[in-house]
């Protein structure tokens, strides 16, 4: 993966597959350059046994193949920058993933095109779950929810509509540029 935002696109699928009704995505950059990406869902969660094994590339819940690389690749990139990966999960309650990156390390990936990732995520699961995005840095903060988009569109226009995707992408892009401008590329 060449961007932190691509890891997000990948890892969010786990929350969708877990049957979440709300997925909270957060990016928090502090003044020392540490960036925390968090993904919190209220899906089915993981058993302590699965949680124990889930960082291994040879762990997967799918039945067609024996490998699952999403979490191991994310952890590798977080650790390479001098950060790490934290996972908490409770069966029936949901899962919280936190990946920390030191954005001042030469080995840190750029944040990348977060707006395109959000548009793609929402297009892939237009009906549920609801997605919340919160971004914060010393430069400012923003928030975005699919509920507010849904409130305007009503029941007849799905969030996967091409014109809606374009709007979501542009509106998120406009807001995060001033917040994360320095670490996006």
């Amino acid at each position: 993966m060449k961007e932190i935002a691509l890891h997000l696109l990948d890892i969010v699928q786990n929350s969708v597959r877990a049957g979440a009704s709300v997925v909270e995505i957060g990016f928090d950059l502090d003044s020392s350059g540490m960036l925390v990406m968090s993904v919190a869902d209220d899906g089915c969660g993981m058993s302590p046994e699965l949680l124990e094994r889930v960082r291994s590339p040879f762990t997967t819940t799918r039945t067609t193949r024996k490998v699952g690389l999403g979490i191991p690749l994310l952890m590798q990139n977080a650790v390479l920058s001098g950060g790490g990966l934290e996972l908490n999960s409770e069966e029936g309650r949901g899962t919280v993933l936190k990946a920390t990156f030191n954005t001042r390390s030469i080995d840190c990936l750029p944040l990348g095109d977060l707006a395109s990732t959000m548009a793609t995520i929402i297009m892939g699961s237009p009906d549920r779950p609801e997605f919340h995005l919160r971004c914060h840095s010393p430069e400012g903060e923003m928030s975005f929810t699919t509920e507010e988009v849904r409130a305007v569109l009503g029941e007849d226009v799905p969030l996967s509509e091409p014109a809606v995707s374009g709007w979501i992408q542009q509106s998120i892009q406009e807001e995060i540029e001033p917040i994360f401008g320095g670490i996006m590329r």
Binding site: L6, Q13, L73, T120, V152, D156, V157, A163, V164
Partner: protein, 125 residues
């Protein structure tokens, strides 16, 4: 945030298109982009968004773009399947954003698959 008024305008503009599309569901062409870890790492996100952009730009009302998981041929990602009703599925491999416009005009609009981008062509090399 970009103005919600703009979103409201999009709602009004698309609602009639959606009704038209619902009347003719069986006639819809489906574009399916592989978006598992392998697809994403190989560059599927801009490919997916290019298809959506082309559908929007060319005002193609009977085309849907969706996402799928890993089909086990990770070395050929990004992969895109195109299902035109009444025709066999066509699988494109190693798709890049600059290939998308040709696939849309020649295959989806024109009815002629872009043979050189297909899995058949890639596997013969």
């Amino acid at each position: 945030m970009k103005s919600l008024a703009e979103l409201e305008a999009i709602r009004k503009a698309t609602i009639s298109k959606i009704n038209l599309r619902n009347e003719d569901k069986d006639g819809a062409t489906r574009v399916v982009v592989g978006m598992a870890t392998c697809g994403i790492a190989a560059g599927a996100r801009p490919v997916m968004l290019s298809f959506v952009e082309q559908v929007e730009k060319k005002n193609l009302q009977h085309v849907t773009v969706s996402q799928t998981g890993c089909v086990g041929m990770c070395r050929l990602e990004p992969m895109v399947d195109v299902y035109v009703p009444g025709h066999e599925k066509v699988t494109y491999v190693h798709v890049k954003p600059d290939m998308v416009e040709r696939i849309v005009t020649e295959h989806i609009q024109g009815g002629h698959p872009v043979t050189e981008y297909t899995i058949g062509a890639a596997e013969n090399n």
